[in-house]
Symmetry: C2
Subunit: 295 residues, 2 copies
C-alpha cells in the first residue's frame, strides 16, 4: 500500500509511519513545516486545497494526523484550530475522493465527548465538547464521516486516548516531569492531581492505524484508548520513583478537560485492536530513553 | 445600540437589520459581496481576520447571520462551509471580544440536531448532524458558546427554524413553487412530500434577535421555531389554492434533512419570544407580495 501520513512533525505521526513501513508499505509523510527528523517529509499546507491535492497522487490510504493538536493553542486561537482541523480535513477529503483513496483514517480524540453522562464512555455517548480543541476535532470527524455516508469515500475515525512514548512534545506533562526531575526540581501537580487519563502507548496507537487500514471497516468511529487510568499525581509519583524529586501542588488551569474513563471494546470487535503496553512498563522505558538521550 | 448585522445579502439579515432600525437602533450591515438592495452594506470577508476586525468599531451587539447557508453548497463544498461558518465565526468572535461587544448573537439552525431520539426536539436533545451544513453550523455555535464560557464574551445562539417571508432566495421551495405556479407549471414534490417543516415567519425570527439583544441572557442556546408543522405537500397545495396549478411527485434528493418537530418553549421563558404569524396568513401575504412584485 501507498500510505500518506499527515502531521509528520508531530509526536504520533512518525510512529504511525514507521508501523506501516515495518509492515512493508510505502509511506509518504507531510507536514506544514519542515521536519528535522524526517528529511523526506513533504512540506505542504493542507489548509490550501491545491497543496492538499498534490499530496494525494498514487495514495491508497491516508492517515490524517495533522492539524492543531495543542489544546492551549486551540484555546488561544480557535480560528487556527478551525482552519487546520475542519477546513484542512475537508481539503484532504476532497483530494482523497478525487484520487480514489481506498481508506481515509481521521484522527479524533476522546476529548470530543465533553461532560460524561455515563462512564466508561463508549462511541454511542453523546459528544458535547465545550473546548475549541474538541469542538474542531469533532467537526473534522463529522465532516470526514459525511464523506463516507454522502460521497462514498471510505472513512474511519479513531478517537485516541492521550498518547505517550518517545518523541513526545517538550510541553507534554511527561516531558515536563522528566525534565524537572532530572534537574532536581519539584514536579508540579495542577489542582488535586486526581484528574486521570488513560495514557495510551504510541506503539499501540500506531497499531490501530495499521489495523484500520487493513480492515474492511468503514463509516465507523472507534475509541483507541488503553484501559488503565492513571492520575496526574500517580504519574508524578511514578516519575519520582525513577528520578527521585519532590512533588508540589499548584492551582488548576482554566479549560483543562476533566477526567473520564473510556471504553475501547468496539475497536476490539471491529478491527481486533487492544492496548498491549502496560503503563508502568511503557513509562519506565520512556524515562530511561529520556535519561539516555539527554546525557 | 450600535448593531452589526452580517450576511446582509442573505434573506433573513435585512429583516433583522430593519427590526433593530425600527426599535431606534443604529445598524451597520455587511456581506462578503456588494448588496444591491443595501448600498450602505460594507463589503468585507470575515474569513479574513483583519476584515472582521475592521467591522467591529463602536459596535454593541453583533447579529451574526453570515456564512454558508445553502445546504447544497455546503454538501458540494464542505471546506467552504467550514471556512465561513467555523473560521469566520471565530474571527468575528475575536474581533467582538477585543472591541468590547456586549452581546454576540450567533445564528444556528434546528438542523444541528440530526436524527431525533425524541420529539419535539428541545435544546437538551443531543446534536449529531451528519450533513456538512449542520456540522459546520454546530461547530460555529459551540465555538461561539466557548467564547462565553472560557473567554467572557457574552454569547447567545438562536437555532432558527426554516424561515419564510419576502426576500426569500429564488432557490427556496417557496420561491420555486410560486414561480412555477405563476407560469402554470406543475409543482414538484420530492419523495412522498410528507417531510414537514415548522416554517417560521422572518418577522418572528427578527423579533427573536431583538429580544435576545435586549435581554441579559447569555451562554444559552434557544430554538426559534414556530409551532405549526407544514408538509411540503401541504405547502404545494396551499400555493396551488392561491395560484391554481397541478402537483407532481419526483424522487427524493440525497442529503435532504428528514422531518422533526421542534419545541421553542425555552425562548419563551428566557426572552419572551413566541411566533406570532400564523402560517396560512404569512404564506398568503408572501404569495400576494410575490404576484404584485412580479407583474
Amino acid at each position: 500500500m501507498n500510505v500518506l501520513v499527515t502531521g509528520a512533525g508531530g509526536f504520533v505521526a512518525p510512529h504511525v509511519a514507521n508501523a506501516f513501513r515495518d509492515a512493508g508499505d510505502t509511506v509518504r509523510t507531510t507536514d506544514a513545516r519542515p521536519v528535522e527528523a524526517d528529511s523526506n517529509s513533504i512540506t505542504a499546507d493542507f489548509t490550501d486545497a491545491e497543496q492538499a491535492d498534490r499530496l494525494m497522487d498514487g495514495i491508497d490510504v491516508v492517515c490524517h494526523l495533522g492539524g492543531v493538536g495543542d489544546v492551549y493553542l486551540a484555546l488561544d486561537h480557535p480560528e487556527e484550530a478551525a482552519l487546520a482541523n475542519v477546513v484542512g480535513t475537508a481539503n484532504l477529503l476532497n483530494a482523497a475522493k478525487s484520487s480514489g483513496v481506498s481508506k481515509f483514517i481521521y484522527t479524533s480524540t476522546w476529548e470530543v465527548y465533553g461532560e460524561p453522562e455515563y462512564q466508561p464512555l463508549d462511541e454511542k455517548h453523546r459528544c458535547e465538547p465545550d473546548h475549541p480543541y474538541g469542538i474542531t476535532k469533532l467537526a473534522g470527524e463529522r465532516i470526514a464521516l459525511s464523506y463516507d455516508a454522502l460521497k462514498g469515500q471510505p472513512v474511519v475515525a479513531l478517537r485516541l486516548g492521550t498518547a505517550y512514548g518517545t518523541g513526545m512534545r517538550p510541553n507534554s506533562v511527561f516531558s515536563i516531569f522528566m525534565d524537572k526531575a532530572r534537574r532536581g526540581e519539584s514536579l508540579t501537580v495542577q489542582g488535586s492531581g486526581a484528574q486521570a487519563r488513560q495514557f495510551t502507548h504510541v506503539s499501540d496507537i500506531a497499531q490501530a492505524f495499521l489495523l484500520a487500514a487493513e480492515s474492511d471497516v468503514r463509516g465507523e468511529v472507534m475509541n483507541i484508548v488503553a484501559q488503565e487510568s492513571i492520575s496526574i499525581r500517580q504519574l508524578a509519583e511514578l516519575v519520582a520513583e525513577e528520578i527521585p524529586t519532590k512533588i508540589e501542588q499548584v492551582p488548576a488551569r482554566t479549560g483543562d478537560v476533566a477526567s473520564a474513563t473510556v471504553n475501547s471494546e468496539k475497536a476490539g470487535k471491529l478491527i481486533g485492536w487492544q492496548a498491549k503496553v502496560d503503563f508502568r512498563t511503557g513509562l519506565k522505558a520512556l524515562i530511561h530513553h529520556h535519561l539516555d538521550s539527554s546525557q
